[in-house]
Symmetry: C2
Subunit: 304 residues, 2 copies
């Protein structure tokens, strides 16, 4: 079996890109997930009547296609990298080394779904109706309905084209998605902290960054004490040098960066302007881990 | 100025891909070279009336496009990798890490020229007549007129299409190119050794591999003693852990691997079947550094 796989702690773009890319590649390729789905992804799949992909069966794997990531630290655990046969992504190159040349398509778009849309068009292939709707949801998710600095003209063009063809009302649909994502009901705080968590190599350090995007940060911020505890536990477990967790208010564009120790505070206050109160740095205008948090942290930590 | 650049010690695919990609990108992009041209490249440019590109002016650089390589060790010296804005290549990923996402297109084709041909086609852009001829020369050069295991169906299709459209006779033209490449006249032996030399990180080691492709290995092999001396000097200069130099007979598909010390002999004899005589290991069927030498060496040295 050949699997199409997004990154660990999958977000909506990772899950949808796996589903769409497996459809694009056709026979022999199956979408899989590298972790539990978040509430936004579950909402979207449910809305369009698509089943959630399964975890890959490592002992049955003949090959992998990676979507929405290219760093080893973010790959499904146990993956044999010699079996990677293709990468489609929109992130920065993270230092992966392979023995053989493979097909790699990376573009600085707002999401991987936009690149997959282009692959269909270049191959003059019809996109199935429900895949088209999924791709639109993916674009709205990863660009926060174009309120994030990660959105590009290409994403907008594709989103508008699909919205026209499928009669989906973008703002209305995005609001529903973000409401689903913001829902903390029934989620243990450890899950809130780890649901959208990624690790990066930055200079000599391993850095973990978790993000919780929400249209209403109050319920999460009220549980700040619990969150700090959960972040400390996650840091222990992951064995990273630095760990950050951001509650991101996607309505007013504000990150609340929650930090477990003085070490993180020292780095964060050196990089970002913002108000520090106890363990929380309030950073106006910052919403994107990829475009704003990671590059600043990487630049800083590579020169420490 | 924005430059399109191939790797150090450029081969014909590197030079032609830089010229073609700069044409494809258009205004503001200029092809450059990362070293001296070999006799094959000079012959091809001369044949189609194209001027040799210049070295880039590092103090004028606003951006770079890399073609035909993606490893830092093979980039033009002094290049600031934060200025890389695009990579088009057909080699394995070599561990490059960047701060931001950029456009990356890597395919396991026989040469970079074939990917650039596809870019023109996907954009529905007319390819200028002389660029078309250059692309054909590039394919024939990198696939040794399809006698190397690196050639793919995609390369063949493109080559045949261009040959039809331009009335170039493939076998005849390839023979002329390879004769030009095989010509040792006026070349100091140090230049023969370093002309097509690349460095790789393999596990804990830095490894240099030089290749001299020829339709007649005799003149080079007669100067084996001088070559061993030159390889030793190059190893000193480059400070690599292992260094190999292969005289490759592209008519009968045979590599003569010339090794400066017992260290290289130990590794090479463990990997390749072949007759060892003094400093030369005769390996039948091996012609490709990328597809045959590098993967075997890398696999071995990563597990030492």
């Amino acid at each position: 079996m050949k699997y199409v796989l997004g990154h660990k702690n999958p977000d909506t773009d990772s899950i949808i890109s796996a589903i769409a890319m497996a459809d694009f590649l056709g026979d022999g390729y199956m979408p899989a997930r590298s972790g539990d789905l978040n509430k936004e992804s579950l909402f979207v799949l449910n809305e369009f009547g698509i089943e959630s992909p399964e975890l890959p069966e490592l002992n049955e794997v003949e090959g992998f296609v990676l979507v929405d990531h290219n760093q080893e630290a973010q790959m499904f655990d146990g993956l044999d990298k010699s079996k990677i046969e293709m990468i489609v992504d929109h992130h920065n190159l993270g230092g992966l080394a392979l023995l053989s040349p493979i097909f790699i398509r990376i573009e600085p778009t707002g999401c991987t779904a936009t690149i997959i849309y282009k692959l269909y068009k270049e191959a003059a292939r019809e996109i199935p109706e429900n895949i088209k709707k999924l791709l639109l949801a993916s674009i709205l998710s990863d660009t926060l309905n174009f309120s994030s600095p990660t959105g590009t003209e290409a994403d907008k063009m594709v989103a508008n084209e699909i919205a026209r063809e499928t009669s989906i009302k973008i703002d209305e649909f995005a609001a529903k998605m973000f409401k689903a994502k913001s829902d903390l009901t029934g989620m243990p705080i450890s899950r809130v902290v780890s649901a959208d968590y990624k690790e990066f190599e930055m200079g000599k350090f391993n850095v973990g960054i978790g993000v919780f995007e929400t249209v209403d940060p109050a319920p999460a911020l009220e549980r700040k004490g619990e969150i700090v505890e959960a972040v400390r536990e996650l840091q222990q477990e992951a064995g990273v040098d630095y760990i950050f967790f951001a509650v991101v208010d996607i309505v007013v564009d504000m990150a609340y960066l929650i930090m477990p120790t003085d070490k993180e505070k020292e780095v964060a206050t050196a990089i970002f302007k913002g108000d520090l109160e106890d363990d929380v740095l309030k950073i106006p205008g910052v919403v994107s881990r990829k475009k704003q948090m990671v590059p600043s942290l990487q630049k800083y930590l590579e020169n420490v």
